[in-house]
Symmetry: C2
DNA sequence: CAGCTCTGGTTCAGTGAATGAACCTTCCCT
DNA sequence: AGGGAAGGTTCATTCACTGAACCAGAGCTG
């Protein structure tokens, strides 16, 4: 979503509008999604999202300023930073989950791309992010993501790494190719 | 969100990206939000959202083509149409609810603008629109919206009408002023 | 019947954001 | 010395958003 630089719908007295001021721009929610999937590094976002470099830099910066991601130095020489979801970023999981569920409902005969399960018991999450077996909401740390039958072949290393069953927020291992 | 005309992130194999193709543009989710609040008429959207006319026309058309809203003739002479959420549009309620709750979490010391309750029991809804007491998802038809302490004075008739406690999807009465 | 209003648009010029390609810098490796 | 990887910045072009103006059908008013 392209917001004007004056962020006009800040005027709206509505929490939804407030949320969209932060994450409503084009690509922003996809960056957060990848961050929750475990992507942390500039190049991995770039490869996985096929996003223009300038836009990615802008989004990472604004998300960091908003407190959704945290920029963290993970090696000094050469200096390298990674972007990690904060508590606020992790709190976007229900919204992303709901959007994904709606996107699946949108084309009903499509096979699911990924399924999400309670890591402790393997039960697939319900429509409001709860474990149907345990009957309570599951934090993203305890969600296991599994590839679904709707996924095609992986074309880049990041997509390939995200094919394996894995916990949300678990950092991507950058195997040295 | 400004999508290119070729909708590039259609390529993403992800239900979230699919959803954002439809509702990811700037203003789109706010139009759907208003539709769920009971706004149905072009002019009411215009007044309440303060959205440019051209953008509103474009959004209403694309949402109608996507099957999120339905254009319905409500009077023949002069011909007047209203836009009503379809089943697919109503299915966006959990995502909007989750986004709104996140927007509230974003500025924690702000007072809530509106609260949403299960109409049958009065319990405030959880982050996916489920009733915490009944333990199940609540259809938007059964959700009661109440004004919260964070709302300022209403400046237009539509905002004023949306101040009263009311069910979602209940059409706005256009009082003849 | 002239003129005004209400509703629901369309058109248009100006602006700002997204895009993709090219370039840059620092560091490491050989 | 040369090459490559990571993480950016810069730039011209394209595209969408913005706000104001304009338009058209229908009813109301005098």
């Amino acid at each position: 979503m392209a917001l004007g630089k004056d962020y006009d719908y800040a005027a709206q007295e509505c929490s939804i509008a407030r949320a969209l001021e932060i994450v409503g721009e084009r690509w922003t929610l996809l960056v957060v999604r990848d961050a929750l999937y475990g992507v942390r590094r500039y190049n991995d976002f770039l490869v996985h999202l096929k996003i223009p470099r300038a836009v990615l830099a802008a989004r990472l910066q604004s998300l960091t300023e908003a407190g959704v991601l945290e920029k963290r130095r993970y090696q000094e020489s050469p200096p390298r930073d990674e972007y990690v979801p904060t508590e606020l970023g992790r709190a976007l999981w229900p919204a992303l989950r709901a959007l994904g569920l709606w996107g699946r409902a949108f084309n009903p005969n499509a096979r699911p791309m990924r399924t999400f399960h309670h890591a402790d018991c393997g039960t697939e999450l319900g429509s409001y992010g709860e474990c149907r077996a345990c009957g309570r909401a599951i934090d993203p740390e305890d969600v296991e993501m599994r590839p679904g039958p709707g996924l095609g072949p992986a074309e880049d290393p990041v997509s390939r790494a995200l094919r394996a069953p894995r916990r949300l927020l678990q950092p991507l291992e950058n195997q040295p190719q």
